[in-house]
Symmetry: C2
Subunit: 301 residues, 2 copies
């Protein structure tokens, strides 16, 4: 069985108090795939890049076992680029530039061999495109979805249609409040469950996460990090660890989902320790297990 | 053995989205004592009121087993009064008025019989007065302290002296950041440990709390409340549940302190469900145990 991810692949310029990188590998589908690949060895990436996309990044993805059949390379096209500055607030980047380039015309097309992928992650793309993906998926077993303020504000009808068709929505606290108009996160989460998903996972950054169904509440701790170098990709790394673990176990009982939330938080906590994918490049499964255990100990009472 | 609390007793006017109360029983020492009295039957209150303080409130405290020998009543004096409005932000009251009255000249004097009290809670009063209390306490076994922005900004020297003499500091996230200049709460907590306390408990409202020592980190969940009627007194109720439980067990191992943090969070979660002490008035120990168990289940992974 495999995990399908549809999202962005890009080259980022990022500046934080800890330094800066230019033309660094980024994009939601990249962070997700890399994180998921620590748990599961069959990841299928659907995205688009230009012919300027460095071969070394393709090599990196292949080494991680990430299938690239669905990665469209546009001749004479340029890869999506984004520049962000976190120096004044680690929780919110100031966008310096967004060059959509080939990503502006992205219309995801699943390779024939990908259509029956059981686990589907719809990264933070236009909900119209998320719906297009769902129309192509023939036998999804579990559909997990992300979204953002832009789509809540500008494409709410399509987003609500997507939500009516997904199993799990992962979003952050600000997005949950914006989507529902509820300031209380438990009420916001319960409201989101009425939109369609069986489960909602609300991420709260340094405060952990809440995972809700109609009959369960899980208050997940955050790993107590003392410093963050670059928050870019934390949410997608969380989703990758989360769905990668779920797929590796093959079921979604409450106990398994709770462990998946913690694995997601652990991978995200590593990801923010360095720029781009740099920390994940040198991360090992044994480091993940150690930190999982530390978080278990920190939360025990 | 007993618990000594030195703090404010007042009459509050409070307005929130859920309604309002006038001349309602309030003050840090009241919330603390009431919360602690669910766990421990010997609470000693040191505070000051005017001769306008209603007899019914004294009766309430006596019924809870709270010793009033240290509650000074000033003839022809008026009780401390505070008015707050939370209608625009449940996390921060707009102060409508503060009439210090007899509290303006408060200089806590421990009754002779109270001087050897082993458990001491210094509620959120001027650190000069906190130090005066410590000078009178002959054999404290455990000193727990609260503070606030006002003293961090205006009485930092005295506050630092107090901190050098206490065992546990309880404060909220904003206060921890202000006191240390550190935005990361783990680093802020570790910084505070260098000021003297063996342990710091940083409260994060709806996000739970962090309890830190030199060698341990506890990430405590918050009870997932769906609505808050009146946040007044939440922090003092937390401290009361916390120290009440610790005193009832009689030791401060990491495991016991973690349970105490959860009991504190549970009592605080009840307190905010109604105005003034109204929820605590009808609260039972069995409701506390039920919610403790629910929180245990919500945090389990």
């Amino acid at each position: 069985m495999s995990i399908l991810v549809v999202g962005s692949v890009g080259l980022d310029d990022v500046k934080t108090h800890a330094g800066k990188v230019e033309n660094a590998l980024g994009g939601s589908a990249i962070y997700f795939s890399t994180a998921a690949s620590f748990f599961y060895d069959s990841i299928r990436l659907v995205a688009v890049v230009g012919d300027d996309f460095p071969q070394e990044h393709l090599d990196f993805l292949e080494v991680r076992g990430i299938g690239l059949e669905g990665l469209e390379q546009i001749q004479d096209g340029k890869t999506f680029r984004w520049g962000g500055d976190y120096t004044s607030d680690l929780n919110a980047a100031t966008t310096l530039f967004t060059d959509l380039n080939v990503y502006g015309d992205f219309n995801p097309k699943l390779p024939e061999a990908y259509k029956d992928t059981p686990y589907v992650f719809l990264a933070n793309i236009n909900p119209e495109l998320q719906l297009n993906v769902l129309r192509q998926a023939t036998t999804p077993k579990l559909i997990v979805c992300d979204t953002m303020n832009l789509w809540i504000n500008n494409s709410l009808d399509a987003l609500m249609q997507t939500l009516s068709e997904v199993d799990i929505l992962i979003l952050n606290d600000g997005e949950a409040r914006l989507l529902t108009g509820e300031s209380n996160l438990i009420r916001a989460g319960k409201q989101i469950l009425t939109y369609g998903p069986d489960r909602v996972v609300i991420k709260k950054g340094e405060h952990g996460a809440i995972s809700l169904t109609d009959s369960t509440v899980f208050t997940a701790p955050a790993y107590p990090l003392e410093s963050v170098s670059d928050p870019t990709g934390a949410g997608d790394s969380f989703a990758g660890g989360f769905l990668g673990y779920l797929a590796s176990v093959g079921e979604t009982s409450e106990a398994t989902v709770r462990k998946a939330v913690i694995y997601g938080a652990v991978v995200a906590s590593f990801n923010v320790e360095d720029f781009s994918l740099n920390r994940q490049r040198r991360l090992t499964r044994s480091e993940i297990e150690d930190r999982y255990h530390q978080l278990y100990e920190a939360a025990l009472f």
